[in-house]
């Protein structure tokens, strides 16, 4: 199992196994981020392709100042915005498409997931991205700051606001609160 340093070193030499390893390690993370932000399978795939194409093209510029994952997220975040902008310019709907994921969970879980999706859809792009990166991808505030090209303290404030927005829109907020109180 390679570490990031080895992956990057191989890729910088143009070795296929280096690129393959980067793809295998982070392809799904990036795909998940793109899908959660774009909510469309085809658009997400475009963003993933363009993210890795750009990353492979500029792998020599990765100096290791940040984690490889953060570096890829930064590229992905901008590619996602670009794909969405291109989609809108091309006459795409401003409404996010309903590309429902297959789900074999219990009905209640599915409902909850759809609620989460509905709430996330109502949040601004950057708030959604910050919530995903902070609570699903476990990126630190410093890493999110690196991705978004802002300061870590700024990320904390934006994350705080995004949490409040999400909570205010969460339809089961009362129910969840009651459960917390009861427990």
């Amino acid at each position: 199992m390679m570490n990031d340093g080895e992956r990057v070193a191989l890729a910088r030499q143009g070795r296929p196994e280096g690129f393959r390893s980067i793809w295998e390690a982070y392809g799904r993370y990036i795909h998940t981020l793109a899908f959660r932000m774009l909510r469309d399978r085809a658009l997400a795939e475009d963003a993933v392709q363009e993210t890795f194409a750009a990353a492979f093209r500029s792998i020599r510029e990765f100096r290791g100042d940040s984690r490889l994952k953060t570096w890829l997220y930064r590229i992905a975040y901008h590619e996602v915005l670009r794909v969405r902008e291109r989609h809108l310019r091309g006459g795409g709907s401003t409404e996010l498409p309903e590309d429902l994921p297959a789900c074999d969970s219990a009905h209640a879980d599915l409902e909850a997931r759809l609620d989460v999706r509905a709430v996330l859809d109502r949040l601004p792009e950057r708030d959604r991205a910050i919530l995903i990166m902070a609570y699903w991808d476990d990126l630190s505030c410093a890493e999110i700051a690196d991705v978004l090209s802002i300061t870590a303290n700024n990320v904390k404030i934006l994350l705080y606001r995004a949490r409040i927005k999400f909570a205010g829109l969460w339809p089961r907020a009362d129910e969840a609160r009651q459960k917390e109180v009861a427990s």
């Binding site: 143009g14 959660r36 392709q49 792009e125 606001r161 969460w170």
Partner: protein, 189 residues
């Protein structure tokens, strides 16, 4: 401008809750005073860190939706580093070639296109001999009487004359093989 902790926490409240912006626009960034307070107030920093440490209610990891099944995004062909290397190498070679060309231009001057050696219009200016004719268009610093054979070569932008004494003129005329070289030397000055 410094602000109090109460003002700081008040400023953190979102102002556009729930407004959806597909264009990615967001509410105004925290202003300088807010960021300055956060950077200098350990209490507020600690409080904020605690607030954001856990996901909001409802955003539990179990509720994150899964990726659609059957997704198989293929890895893009990593042509980049090779092509980047090739591209950079090409740029480097081009730069070196350009620098060398510039060096040559600087040191040697701009090369002129090869001009054909003018075919000398050889004529004996007998009218100059033994003395210049009055009214002739040319005059010479040295007395023309010393020369028995005068030739003139005319190019696009110059005229040149060759003065040969009696012996040289005979030699010149007799040695046909050297004639062209002789004229070439004369024409190049």
């Amino acid at each position: 401008m410094t602000i109090t902790c109460a003002v700081f926490r008040q400023r953190l409240e979102p102002t556009e809750v729930g407004r959806r912006r597909p264009d990615g626009a967001v509410q105004p960034e925290p202003d300088a005073a807010t960021l300055e307070h956060l950077a200098t107030c350990p209490d507020c920093l600690g409080w904020l860190d605690r607030e954001i440490a856990t996901p909001p209610s409802g955003l539990r990891p179990a509720f994150w939706e899964a990726l659609p099944t059957g997704v198989d995004v293929r890895m893009p062909t990593p042509t980049a580093p090779g092509s980047t290397l090739f591209h950079r190498l090409s740029l480097l070679l081009t730069g070196v070639a350009a620098a060398f060309a510039l060096y040559l231009l600087t040191v040697r001057g701009i090369p002129q296109p090869a001009r054909p050696i003018p075919t000398p219009a050889v004529e004996t200016l007998s009218f100059l001999l033994p003395e210049e004719k009055p009214g002739a268009p040319f005059s010479f610093l040295e007395p023309a009487q010393e020369y028995s054979f005068v030739t003139r070569t005319e190019t696009d932008d110059s005229h040149s004359w060759t003065f040969l004494d009696q012996d040289s003129s005979f030699s010149f005329i007799e040695d046909e093989n050297d004639k062209e070289e002789l004229w070439e030397d004369h024409s190049r000055g």
